[in-house]
Symmetry: C2
Subunit: 543 residues, 2 copies
């Protein structure tokens, strides 16, 4: 027997309607690629989103069509989020920082019909255009006056001209909430990028879950500046959760240096921001160098990689900002966990509270997690046992666009995150390694990251990396790879001794190798695939 | 094209799983009907909810079956919420304060298979039992030691015995999220009570929407005491939103007097509570008489009827408690609006901020509202125009159980609330009247409530009521009915003069009648149907 409640689908276009109706004069402020500051309201944004929808329909775009965007955080990109998804098409955000061949692969794989491009990205698109197989029009996100000269882009359209004569009275259609709404490719370290295809339902449930007090805690009193780009998992959903609660939005455009971000925080009275650690490092450096303070910022979400402890304490003690450590991935829309201490934690000694804050946090309702061993057996949530982290929930992917990579789910519906983690009795998850980097020694697991962190504490070490190397008896044993600080000296024995009171005895590396540099990914992570390649023919002295 | 996200239904049983897993040691504290305080954790509650599920299955209960409860707010009632809905059956909460014949009607109409009854309500059930047509067992919500003696209830079962030997390892089934989960009858002033049949989906979306910062703002740091009964629209959803966020729950049992409630607030460090104005009046009286203060309470939700201005200011100024004025109805799960001022309102002069707080508030995303005139035309959201308030959304009813009352929806899917309201440009709704009480004079509407409030301000008036009376020229004109304070004197002319600078001239009542008492409903509202009956043969002097 079914309940007798209204069968109303959850649709993204309802968000902009809600915001315009109940928060009509709330502002959306953008630092434009054109250089100036643009400000308007949710009421204005609704009209222009409807004009975008009308323009798309007039260009023959149909439900299910993919529309690419190559754009920074700004109001036109925001309008596209609603205009594209609102007609039932798919908003495909593309990371302009990818290698050109990746962009070509992604646009062709997605079969994008149109590409909306910010003006400073048009020259790059011009070069790639001959390789795009399905793109009918490039749309320059500007007015005629700001269009770069001498572009050779056939069928180029200009955003402001495209929507200028449209009535802006579009009636959003209603359709199944499982309809695809947006597409974001993840670039793994191996293979081609794979597309995560979000639905209206998953996006809306994620918006509800992420606005909750213990997740991002967003309200009509929030002033939200997403530093995280709108091409990076939809700016962690903030362009959806913001209008859901009627928050003021501040879009920073292409300039994410400390000075630019700081200025917007202060002039727009920003209370909430979100981004990766690198951005916050730049901001802290800028503020420290210029002896600046933050007058309104209350919360900074740090995600993408782990928040360094010093960053958490500096934000709290010197700037009065609470860092919300968060974790997620493109396949999770992206929010998986956010770290809000519980009431009982607030009275902990400072170092214990910091240790808690360094964990990745607890999941909001909607994300379910478990950790499993090699055999898939669930491990206890005791904060000690670590295993492969599996997740499930209505905003977690069940497969990639066009079936790339096959069925990723395990154990009847669990998505393997590729992370190794602990979960403590209070539900706080902590990443201890990547699944492919953990060292499996005699049936037990050794965390490469824990070993690296321990080695990094040695004063002579500039950077440390740990990889597993084949061992006849133990399957794998850890090899510690060290890049010394300029002029610093340290021996293998000194390092092993240094580690001996920091990790279990059987975790101690079987050898230490010294290198001139440790390779990194484009986002600054240690490139362990390269290290494993470099040490392919290396043999452990214990082997 | 559909998105590629996991097709996981939203089910109520997931809430207790989430709470047990991520908030396992968070407490649920109950003042029992037995008289003592009971405390356990979400982890304990999960096991016992599973035992309830196992017991129901062993009694032959199947998906869709209705299971009645006649119980106060307590942990066993909480277990029933999850045990019953979690197997796909329907948790039918019954208001024990209804007239016996209404209870009989409701139990028979719902075709309840079992009745779970708190021990102090068993004698009443014993009397009605012969009239119940479908009830196979009454289950006394206690252990054998607390079972009242000399009850003559055939097939009586005892809750603790029923679940004692069950394993508590039940695997919750997964089913369609539109499955009916709970049932609550509304008792209008006319006709038989009608059943609102909630679904898992509507309940879960309501839980998300109601936990948002601008709705009830619930988190793992909240300690929630629902004074509003669990038989009254599921205690405004708090037994669902609480576990969703891992809040500590405090159930007050049958005693809702000022002293009992105050004691629990203090001993359990309650931060959040919700109830109707009468309860808060009793609490304020108790605290004032005993010179008590509140040490932890931050938010008090007032709903059910409008919050009196003095209550809002007293809570804020003398007790440091922010009153959240809320509005809803059974047909809305029940939350429609909550009044959280926006940032710009916080700097308003005190009287203007109070005026704002007296409005019923803004809707969370998920509730859409419009006001319409007699012809169904939408009226502007200018804070002045008032019209019939229509609502729609995924947690709003589309019809009553067994089709009673036909299709209530208007205009392609809007539910008529029966209220007349304004909506201001910031989205704040204010009830100005009931649709059936508004006076339609010459095509324009006069708010009976506004007139009553204006008349109530006269020092000689104990209570004022306004009804519309037939008029040959204007269709209807207002009649003011006055119950004077003991010994006070006031004439018709004095009252009309008193009103003349308070309302528009054409709103002034055509006559004033004095009565010895004004009739009320069981919940303390003016019984206008009775007044209209009393003045059936009355003719206006202007007619």
């Amino acid at each position: 027997m079914f309940g007798l409640m209204q069968d109303r689908p959850l649709l993204i276009q309802q968000l902009i309607e809600h915001a315009a109706q109940y928060h009509g004069d709330t502002e959306i402020v953008s630092r434009r690629v054109e250089g100036d500051i643009h400000r308007y309201t949710y009421r204005d944004a609704r009209v222009r989103a409807k004009k975008v929808a009308e323009a798309l329909v007039s260009l023959g775009i149909k439900t299910g069509d993919r529309i690419g965007t190559l754009a920074w955080n700004g109001y036109r990109h925001f309008e596209l989020y609603f205009g594209i998804s609102g007609i039932g098409a798919v908003c495909h955000t593309i990371n302009p920082r990818l290698f050109p061949e990746q962009i070509v692969y992604i646009v062709n794989h997605a079969e994008d019909q149109l590409l909306f491009v910010d003006i400073n990205l048009l020259p790059a698109v011009e070069k790639l255009l001959p390789e795009f197989k399905t793109v009918k029009h490039v749309v320059a996100m500007c007015d005629r006056a700001h269009l770069p000269k001498d572009l050779k882009i056939p069928n180029l359209l200009v955003y402001e001209e495209l929507i200028a004569d449209k009535p802006g009275t579009y009636e959003w259609p209603e359709f199944d909430e499982r309809t695809a709404s947006s597409l974001c490719y993840t670039s793994g370290t191996t293979g081609n990028p794979k597309g995560v295809l979000y639905s209206h339902r998953s996006t809306m449930l994620h918006a509800y879950g992420s606005a909750l007090p213990d997740t991002l805690g967003l309200s009509a009193r929030s002033v939200v500046l997403p530093v995280v780009p709108m091409f990076h998992v939809n700016a962690w959903g903030l362009p959806y959760s913001g209008p859901m609660v009627g928050a003021k939005l501040v879009f920073p455009g292409p300039h994410l240096d400390g000075k630019s971000v700081y200025e917007l925080f202060e002039t727009e009275k920003v209370t909430f921001t979100a981004g990766v650690p690198t951005v916050w490092l730049a901001l802290l450096n800028h503020m420290q160098a210029n002896k600046l303070k933050l007058s309104t910022l209350k919360y900074a979400v740090i995600g993408g990689s782990a928040a360094p402890p010093a960053m958490i304490t500096t934000f709290a003690k010197e700037y009065g900002v609470e860092v919300l450590h968060a974790w997620g991935m493109s396949e999770m829309s992206p929010l998986g966990t956010v770290n809000h201490p519980k009431e009982k934690h607030l009275s902990l000694p400072e170092d214990e509270l910091l240790a808690l804050r360094l964990k990745q946090g607890r999941p909001p309702f909607g994300v379910d997690m478990k950790i499993v061993d090699d055999a898939g057996k669930a491990l206890p949530h005791d904060g000690k046992a670590f295993g492969d982290l599996l997740v499930r929930g209505p905003w977690i992917t069940r497969g990639y666009f066009k079936g790339e990579g096959g069925d990723p789910l395990k154990d009847g519906g669990w998505f393997p995150t590729g992370d190794v983690a602990t979960i403590d009795p209070d539900g706080y998850m902590q990443i201890t390694d990547r699944s492919k980097d953990v060292i499996k020694s005699g049936g037990e697991w050794i965390s490469s990251i824990d070993l690296e962190n321990a080695a990094m504490a040695h004063p002579a070490v500039a950077e440390a990396a740990v990889i597993g190397v084949a061992h006849p008896k133990w399957d794998e044993r850890p090899l510690l790879i060290i890049h010394r600080k300029p002029g610093a000296e340290v021996t293998k024995d000194e390092l092993v001794k240094f580690l001996s009171d920091k990790v279990a005895k059987w975790w101690l590396p079987d050898d230490v190798q010294f290198v001139d540099a440790i390779p990194h990914t484009a986002t600054g992570k240690i490139l362990k695939t390269r290290l494993r390649e470099d040490f392919k023919n290396y043999k452990l002295p214990t082997a």
